[in-house]
């Protein structure tokens, strides 16, 4: 259902105080160093626009380091979860990314507990030269979208919160997606990708790639993880789920040292395959929401879109 009561200035405040009652509030905050980060905002103020943060929403949905269990004297106990939280000022492309993560972790207990605890408020953004979002790419997650005078309920929880804030009538029209962003998205097919496995562009990109992992660290739909143990002197142990990265030397290795994805070119190809074609039940779903974070973060300017464009051009040559 869509709501369209003019969103008065006071409604934003109502929304903020309504969400803030039982939830930790987070929003993108621009630091003095020019970096935008997702931070807790206490009682406000409400952000003026949605902004892409350096580390996307997975910072909260799939934290970098998440304790999954604790061990003491022969017993394993599930770790306690964080409480309800709300994020205001989420971009549309990132709401898509959250939808994607929701699918990947559909059967994951701790992710789903955190999902039940979250409330996401989308807002319009100001696209920059790195942006290539695509409304048709996949559905949106989230609860509310607000744009100046208008509010859209994206979920039943969102509907309820809007009701509680006194916003009851329907709004017209589609969500305000940025226009003209998709022009540079190279639609590479799995067949084109497979046929170009030896294309020179891979070796070329691999020679520059530092394997720093920045691209997937900042990617809103990258979710590889590893598990690490922390032992304490009192004999207790906690195991954490911790972000991993397909560019790291150990990612494709098995015990004994055999590497199933040796070399940077193979790892770059793996990342493109994951991004554009998906794994498992999401095979066929392009998960690049076009936020441009990877382009911005790469110290050597590697751009998957450019590689894809080259692969298409080189096909058959």
């Amino acid at each position: 259902m869509i709501f369209g009561d003019p969103l008065e200035h006071t409604l934003r405040e109502k929304l903020l105080s309504s969400l803030g009652q039982a939830r930790n509030l987070w929003a993108p905050c621009l630091g003095k160093d020019g970096i935008c980060r997702l931070q807790t905002i206490g009682a406000g103020p409400f952000p003026a626009l949605a902004q892409p943060t350096m580390i996307p929403l997975k910072k909260l949905l799939l934290p970098y380091r998440e304790t999954v269990w604790r061990y003491q004297s022969g017993r394993f106990r599930a770790a306690e979860m964080t409480g309800p939280f709300a994020v205001v000022g989420v971009t549309l492309c990132e709401l898509q990314a959250v939808w994607y993560l929701d699918q990947v972790f559909a059967a994951d207990e701790s992710y789903q507990t955190r999902r039940a605890n979250r409330f996401l408020v989308g807002m319009p953004c100001e696209p920059d030269s790195n942006c290539r979002c695509d409304q048709a790419l996949m559905p949106l997650a989230g609860d509310i979208f607000i744009d100046q005078e208008q509010a859209w309920a994206l979920s039943t929880a969102g509907e309820a919160v809007l009701h509680a804030c006194g916003c009851t009538s329907q709004a017209e029209g589609p969500l305000p997606w940025p226009v003209g962003m998709t022009a540079q998205r190279p639609a590479i097919t799995p067949e084109q990708y497979a046929a170009a496995s030896d294309a020179p562009v891979w070796a070329e990109a691999a020679s520059h790639c530092l394997s720093c992992g920045a691209c997937s660290a900042v990617c809103p739909t990258c979710y590889c993880f590893d598990m690490l143990d922390d032992a304490a002197l009192d004999g207790t142990v906690s195991r954490s789920r911790i972000w991993d990265n397909c560019f790291f030397a150990e990612h494709g290795k098995v015990a004994g040292g055999y590497d199933f994805r040796p070399g940077r070119a193979a790892r770059l190809r793996f990342r493109m395959e994951h991004k554009f074609f998906g794994f498992g039940s999401l095979r066929g779903q392009n998960s690049c929401v076009g936020c441009g974070r990877c382009r911005k973060a790469c110290p050597v300017d590697i751009d998957l879109d450019q590689i894809a464009a080259r692969l298409k051009g080189e096909e058959g040559s």
């Binding site: 599930a78 059967a107 701790s110 098995v254 794994f279």
Partner: protein, 274 residues
């Protein structure tokens, strides 16, 4: 249904040295874990880490027996544990071998090295619960002393339950025909020659290092086995077991969920699988 990463505590019930750096660990999980041959569990050593391993003995449902090679940081720590110590187990994970396909057909098992471990669980199922017309086991290893379950397999062969052939990379002395053992120096795929079986009626299960798959799978197809009846179980760095962490992905598929057992027909479409 949602999956948790929380393990079940399991007590180490027995540790039996098999061959060098290869012990059989018998675990008693607090709640039984029902495993089918080819499926695997994740073992957690609190404070050290975890690793995936398949079972090699599924006869006692209360217990889980795994043949574990001392090969890395975590298995090294497991080797320091003693009977009575606690570890964690998660699982079962993966698809396992398609047992029903072996019914009424000829079973050809090909193992390389530690690959014998999961095939031993399959062999048990073939002997106890299924009714293949014939069971042939070809097992290659580094040297005679590195053959797992050697005496047990020889005893089964002597009783006519299985047809058994060993191959080793090198040996001072070979256990000869006098001992009722067929063993030769060479590669395990060379054992396929002069084998008395009906390829069109045969289902094959192969487990071993990557090099074994690269030579033997297509060779089986070449001698007349249908690619849909040749199965291999793949090894990767499975960390979660539930199709999330991405370490085991090949050709867009999570080996830990869709595999680790695949037919050659499927493998041909999975670039980089073998």
């Amino acid at each position: 249904m949602t999956c948790s990463l929380l393990p079940v505590p399991a007590i180490i019930e027995a540790i039996k040295p098999m061959v060098v750096d290869n012990h059989l660990f018998v675990f008693r999980p607090e709640q039984p874990i029902e495993l089918s041959p080819g499926q695997f569990v994740e073992i957690s050593i609190p404070g050290v880490g975890g690793f995936p391993v398949s079972a090699c003995d599924l006869v006692d449902e209360e217990l889980l027996s795994c043949c574990i090679r001392r090969v890395g940081r975590v298995t090294e720590a497991l080797y320091q544990l003693e009977v009575g110590d606690t570890i964690g187990l998660r699982g079962p994970f993966g698809n396992g071998f398609p047992l029903e396909m072996f019914d009424g057909r000829e079973a050809l098992l090909i193992a390389g090295g530690l690959g014998m471990a999961p095939l031993r669980a399959l062999l048990q199922a073939l002997l106890n619960d299924l009714h293949p017309d014939k069971i042939i086991l070809l097992y290659g290893s580094r040297e005679p002393g590195a053959l797992l379950f050697r005496e047990e397999l020889i005893a089964l062969a002597r009783r006519g339950r299985i047809e058994l052939r060993f191959s080793v990379d090198f040996a001072e002395t070979l256990p000869g025909p006098a001992a009722g053992v067929f063993c030769r120096i060479g590669l395990v795929n060379e054992l396929l020659a002069d084998l008395d079986f009906n390829p069109s009626k045969t289902v094959a299960a192969v487990c071993g290092p990557p090099a074994l798959y690269r030579c033997v799978l297509e060779e089986l197809a070449a001698i007349g086995l249908a690619p849909a009846t040749i199965f291999a179980t793949l090894e990767r760095r499975m960390r979660c077991g539930i199709g999330e962490c991405c370490h085991c992905v090949v050709g867009g598929r999570y080996l830990c969920k869709d595999g680790p057992v695949f037919s050659l027909e499927e493998l041909r479409g999975m670039v980089g699988a073998i």
